[in-house]
């Protein structure tokens, strides 16, 4: 069931004696069957609770924490969190409402229930939740700017609701300093079409843990995009529940890890109704010693989900030595009656033939590398569907490439 894939480029992690030597490897396809490093634990049986004290102290041995540098996260997993409303900026637009709501509001708890301690800690601590409701059938875009949350440990809760047959895009734009654990609940009512984009351009020392829970109604379509570029430890875990017939989710992600950065995403797609569809595609680039990315993709197809059509993939481009990409696709299928279910994972270095082709057209090696990486990542950016945001993110990726002097 589990197929862990790890690609390590020397010299980082040289203490891992069980790591095969990939130093001369062009590309590593994942192999099914697993290496037996962890006991199999099915996603359908995972514990969940709203109460932080229901979870044991985090040690780093747990399945959901085993890839994460937990020592840096103690303030968020074990400490007290400031649950006052975040200093945010959001414009009110026609066709959407933005407001702060109390803990006992009925809109809270419709989509999520924490599955690990940092998430439960945030849930136990927040005082008010930010509520964003998309109401109109004409597409709207709501931008929530969260800049400079400071370095005190904080909790946050956000509820995004797309009312029936509404259409809209909600962008959570993050920058500046932060030490944040948060939950984001996303509810799509019947026939709604919603895009949620969370952009992490945090300062170098920021730590951000987020659990996104979505509940996808009948014939509703969710596009969820995670863009992680800045921050010390950033972990965004999107979980989607396809609970009604005809629900459709596209989960995209793009990340670029530099020296010392840990960027992680654990995806869960829960097919729980007939004729539901999911597509998951995450692409990442890594450069510099200690750059570490983690992608875990759990897809569960329940007996209730006949006719499911599902595909997930993760691709990583390792630009320098000293980087590490963990990529773990998992598929649990509990019904034989599905339209399709597939997964793919590949992590590798530059394709030398691509470089040769571009260089043979006069393009310098440095520019050729930049072109290839930009192209590799922009495939995801192009899917956001918001031209202004796409253009801005392309520029941000470009800036990452220039900072790192790719391949040098």
């Amino acid at each position: 069931m589990s197929a862990p894939v790890t690609l390590v480029t020397s010299p980082a992690n040289s203490d891992r004696s069980d790591s095969p030597d990939h130093s001369r490897l062009g590309s590593k396809q994942h192999s099914d069957g697993g290496w037996g490093l962890v006991p199999v634990q099915v996603r359908s049986a995972r514990f969940s609770s709203f109460e932080v004290d229901d979870f044991e102290t985090v040690t780093g041995q747990e399945l959901e924490w085993k890839h994460t540098p937990v020592a840096k996260l103690t303030p968020l997993t074990a400490g007290e969190l400031d649950g006052s409303p975040l200093p945010i900026e959001a414009q009110e637009v026609d066709g959407a409402r933005v407001e702060w709501i109390d803990r006992d509001d009925s809109r809270i708890g419709r989509a999520g229930k924490p599955e690990e301690r940092a998430s439960a800690n945030a849930w136990s601590s927040f005082e008010k939740a930010l509520s964003i409701t998309v109401t109109g059938e004409e597409p709207v875009e709501v931008l929530v700017n969260r800049a400079g949350l400071g370095d005190a440990p904080r909790a946050a809760h956000t509820v995004i609701i797309a009312e029936h047959h509404s259409r809209g895009t909600v962008v959570l734009q993050n920058s500046g300093r932060a030490l944040l654990s948060e939950n984001v609940e996303i509810v799509l009512e019947e026939g709604a079409q919603l895009t949620v984009v969370t952009v992490q351009e945090w300062a170098d020392d920021a730590i951000h843990l987020a659990s996104h829970f979505s509940e996808v109604g009948r014939d509703a379509r969710l596009k969820h995009v995670v863009v992680s570029l800045g921050g010390s430890v950033v972990r965004i875990n999107p979980s989607t529940h396809l609970s009604s017939e005809g629900g459709d989710v596209e989960l995209f992600g793009v990340y670029f890890a530099d020296t010392g950065q840990h960027l992680e995403q654990q995806i869960f797609v829960n097919h729980d109704a007939p004729n539901t569809k999911s597509r998951v595609s995450y692409k990442g680039a890594l450069q510099g010693v200690g750059a570490h990315t983690v992608w875990v993709g759990d897809v569960l197809i329940r007996p209730t989900a006949a006719g499911t059509d599902s595909y997930e993939q993760n691709r990583n481009l390792l630009l320098t030595d000293g980087t590490r990409a963990d990529s773990v696709p998992n598929l649990e299928i509990e019904t034989g009656d599905i339209a399709g279910a597939g997964h793919a994972s590949a992590s590798g270095r530059f394709d030398d033939e691509q470089l040769f082709y571009l260089q043979a057209r006069g393009i310098s090696e440095e520019d050729a590398r930049r072109l290839v990486v930009r192209g590799f990542l922009s495939e995801i950016v192009q899917k956001i569907g918001s031209p202004a945001l796409e253009a801005r993110l392309q520029d941000a990726i470009e800036a990452e490439l220039l900072v790192g002097e790719v391949g040098r």
Binding site: D351, D352, E353, Q354, F356, Y357, L358, Q359, A360, R361, G362, I363, S364, E365, D367, A368, L371, V372, R374, G375, F376, L377, S378, E379, Q382
Partner: protein, 257 residues
Amino acid sequence: MSVLEVKDLRVSVETEQGTKEILKGVDLVVNEGEIHAIMGPNGSGKSTLAYTIAGHPKYHVDGGSITLDGENLLAMTVDARARAGLFLAMQYPVEIPGVAVTNFLRTAKTAIDGVQPSIRTWGKEVTEAMKNLRMDSSFKDRNVNEGFSGGEKKRHEILQLELLKPKFAVLDETDSGLDVDALKIVAEGVNRAKENTGLGLLLITHYTRILRYITPDFVHVFVDGRVAEQGGPELADRLENEGYDRFLADAASPSQA
């Protein structure tokens, strides 16, 4: 007048069975405005010559020289060779996901010329060149070679040849896998490029088919890493009728070694 000169070129590659010598002393002089056809059976070293001239890292030069107007090409990086005026049309062009043709062409043109092409004329030039090669205008928004048919890939190579205007071009089996209509279109493009810029051409091919549409000035027959015979266009006709059998018999004979 420009000249591409290959002298006593010896090239090997690393294989799982060890080092394998492929080119065993090749001499060739291509002047500006000349068309040279390099013909030969599979495995004779034709493509190795093409990729060695372009500078592919897989091929190790053990001896000899390649010069362009007296400049040592072997000392140059792949991109420096292209900027010096060399072009290789590849047999199997690779896909570059996420990089649109239009962006790629502008980037390459800028690299070759050292300055951005004029905004006013460049767009027109690309449109015109694409029209000549019967390429749909939507083509420029697609990603480089991604999902291209065999014919589209070859036309895209010739499009670059026409737009980048090299002094010398090596066409590596550009005719392979093309139906007769596509072959004619591609051949027209090559002839047009030669007419417009007077470049020198090294046409590498297994078959004589393309030589019906592009007339070579010289024909060289490659066998076992050497030029076994050379002559004018009449040699191609002879090969059309006789095939490579007589050369292969010669190569197998120890007295030729």
